[in-house]
């Protein structure tokens, strides 16, 4: 007990040290000098409370952790048998179909702002599904994923600015260029060990952002590129006035009144189709030889190589495919915003996408989709807490790794079964 008490006191003391100086004083810049202000009493009480909580927790740590461990016994679902694969797959596909149907109906019942947000959610779903291939399936930690997103977005912006290329042509070009970038960057770096790879990809991401920021003559530097055109539907534009010759406008063709909402809904539907394509394509890939190779290499690299799998080729395929879908998402993003700048492609963005993959459960498509929805929508719902968003993110990532590294919805492998030939 005394050892426990000592430890609890120590922990409480450390809590005080790491929280009070930073939280308890406020540095205020006054012109060139800086002044110190004490903060209001509530912060001090908060710090004190934290100290007490840490003290009590550490003092009764064993008892508390013991009773926490008992908790799953209360949960009736904890020990149930895993569902049979065929049943689970059926359930999953029903659920996914329902989700897609819901998503198709959504824009016609929701407000314009909600549809706009939903488009953003879909973009994040595409990004997270793409990164899921790299991190979850191939086990490569890519911290510079946002670079490929940027390549997709900037390809569209630049192509439309300099060559007047439309969304539909830019979409494959943007995704293709992003994939090419992935291929070229990945080739040298994929030999590296896991954590080195993480840092190098981070470096690449930063380099691309810095270059976008500084090649002012081409990219507009920090001012970005504006006037990115909206997608058209078979040559029909969604603006009030036709911008390009030879096009007609959507509302005139159908003889309906102009509404700004048409464009938002159209863009949403495009994003939805692309997100579904992404999900289905990746789902197929997982069950293809290339998907099995990713998995095998992640499980045991040496055994995989002894069977003739080329480590570089297998990793590169995952990296390139991931980059491809980021390019996809980037093009849609550029079109949705109409304006892009390097601001949108900072490291934090990579971290957010990674957090989505981690929270959802690495490798699990369903989990990643739900996490993308949650991570994008929750901060919007709780706007008053929006400044705490990143703080909570960071904490959630740590907690997730400590308690549930497999994520909220852990990946369930889809086995290929050998059917008996009777």
């Amino acid at each position: 007990m005394t050892a426990n008490l000592k430890h609890a006191l120590f922990c409480a003391f450390i809590t005080l040290i790491i929280s009070y100086p930073i939280l308890g004083f406020d540095l205020k810049g006054r012109g060139t000098s800086v002044a110190l202000e004490g903060v209001d009493i509530s912060t001090s009480i908060g710090v004190l409370l934290a100290v007490v909580i840490v003290f009590v927790f550490q003092l009764y740590r064993d008892t508390i952790m013991g009773s926490v461990r008992q908790l799953p016994a209360i949960n009736p679902l904890a020990n149930r048998e895993p569902m049979e694969q065929s049943k689970r797959l059926k359930l999953e596909s029903i659920l996914l179909t329902l989700m897609v149907i819901g998503a198709v109906i959504w824009p016609f019942i929701a407000s314009r702002g909600a549809v706009d947000l939903a488009t953003l959610v879909l973009i994040y779903i595409m990004l997270a599904l793409g990164l899921n291939v790299v991190v979850g399936l191939a086990g490569l930690l890519d911290l510079g994923y946002v670079a490929f997103y940027a390549v997709g977005a900037y390809s569209f912006a630049l192509l439309s600015q300099y060559f007047g290329i439309s969304f539909w042509f830019a979409l494959p070009i943007g995704a293709g260029l992003a994939a090419l970038f992935g291929l070229v960057l990945g080739f040298p770096v994929l030999r590296l060990r896991g954590d080195y790879l993480a840092i190098v990809t981070l470096g690449f991401g930063e380099i691309i952002r810095i270059l976008l920021n500084n090649m002012t003559s081409l990219t507009g530097g920090p001012n970005g590129i504006g006037g990115i055109p909206d997608p058209t539907l078979f040559g029909m534009e969604f603006s009030r006035l036709i911008k390009e010759e030879g096009n007609t406008s959507f509302h005139e063709t159908f003889g309906i009144a102009y509404s700004g909402e048409h464009k938002v809904i159209f863009l949403y539907l495009i994003a939805l189709v692309l997100a579904v394509i992404t999900a289905v394509a990746i789902r197929r890939l997982m069950r293809m030889p290339v998907g099995r190779a990713w998995e095998a290499l992640r499980e045991d690299e040496i055994a995989a190589k002894s069977l003739g799998l080329s480590r570089t080729a297998v990793k590169l395929s995952a990296f390139t495919i991931g980059a491809f879908f980021a390019g996809f998402a980037g093009t849609v993003f550029a079109s949705k915003q109409g304006f892009i700048s390097p601001e949108s492609f900072v490291f934090l963005e990579s971290a957010i996408i990674l957090a989505i993959v981690v929270l959802g459960g690495m490798g699990s498509q369903m989990g990643v989709i739900l996490a993308a929805i949650a991570v994008t929508i929750l901060p919007e719902l709780a706007r008053e807490f929006s400044e705490y968003r990143m703080l909570i993110f960071g904490a959630a990532m740590v907690l997730m790794m400590v308690w549930r590294p497999q994520g909220l919805m852990p990946m369930r492998r889809i086995h290929i079964e050998l059917k008996r030939q009777e």
């Binding site: 293809m288 290339v290 499980e299 055994a303 069977l307």
Partner: protein, 251 residues
């Protein structure tokens, strides 16, 4: 078909393998034996490309392969197992065999994503081949279990089956009988002989189980402290004084 000439491997100051030579002819089972730490596995690692030998040559079907990347050597038809079984534990038994057939499935991504008939046909073929080999090593019952849940002897057999679906010309087995009981060893015995007789695969194996080695080997190479000690038929080795001294002298 395989010829190792004066192979040497140095780790820092330690000369783990010193001037080892051996050869394997077609339709032959060759064993490498020697006391623990003699450098047998290091020879294997050089042959399979995991290590880049510091000296000597390895010829496979007349081509030099020393220092080639491991996966390329495996693609030439020189496939190995490991002293400590290395399966893809969280994949099922049949999936372990499918992974190994990636070369027979060199489909492009698009046809797979679109599930073209051609792709399905090839996928079915590799499933059939997997089923055949599972039957051959007696694991059909286990096909849909996770490989990590198999008993040790079954894991050993699965590892050999996984090599065989790649259709190798030369199979390298690193202590295939380690941890097996006498009955299982006997089965293994027959399996290895059948690989040679029925599938025309040459075998190089490292083994401590003398009864197995003496029963099935056509020729034996003895290595001691990284150096070749003797080579010959099982009978010659049994009567070789140096070998007896190396084994009995240590025991």
């Amino acid at each position: 078909m395989l010829e190792v000439q004066n192979l040497s491997m140095r780790f820092g100051g330690l000369l783990a393998v010193d001037q080892v030579s051996l050869d394997v002819q077609e339709h032959e089972i060759v064993a490498i034996i020697g006391p623990n730490g003699a450098g047998k596995t290091t020879v294997f690692n050089c042959m399979s490309g995991f290590y880049k030998p510091t000296g000597g040559k390895i010829l496979f079907e007349g081509n030099e392969i020393q220092g080639k990347p491991d996966y390329k050597i495996s693609r030439l038809g020189l496939v190995r197992t490991f002293q400590h079984v290395r399966l893809f534990n969280r994949m099922t038994v049949v999936e372990n065999l499918l992974v190994a057939q990636h070369r027979h499935l060199n489909t492009n991504l698009i046809s797979g994503i679109l599930k073209t008939p051609n792709y399905r046909e090839r996928e079915q073929k590799s499933l059939d081949r997997a089923a055949y080999w599972l039957d051959r090593v007696g694991l059909t019952e286990m096909a849909n279990r996770d490989a990590g849940n198999l008993a040790y002897g079954q894991q050993r057999r699965l590892e050999i089956a996984r090599c065989m679906v790649t259709e190798p010309k030369l199979l390298m087995l690193d202590e295939p009988a380690a941890g097996l009981n006498p009955a299982e060893t006997k089965d293994l015995n027959q399996l290895i002989i059948s690989l040679k007789e029925d599938y025309n695969v040459s075998v190089v194996l490292i083994e401590h189980d003398m009864s197995l080695v003496m029963d099935i080997s056509d020729r034996i190479n003895v290595i001691n402290q990284g150096r070749p000690l003797a080579s010959g038929t099982p009978d010659e080795i049994r009567r070789n004084d140096d070998v007896i001294k190396a084994y009995l002298g240590e025991a």
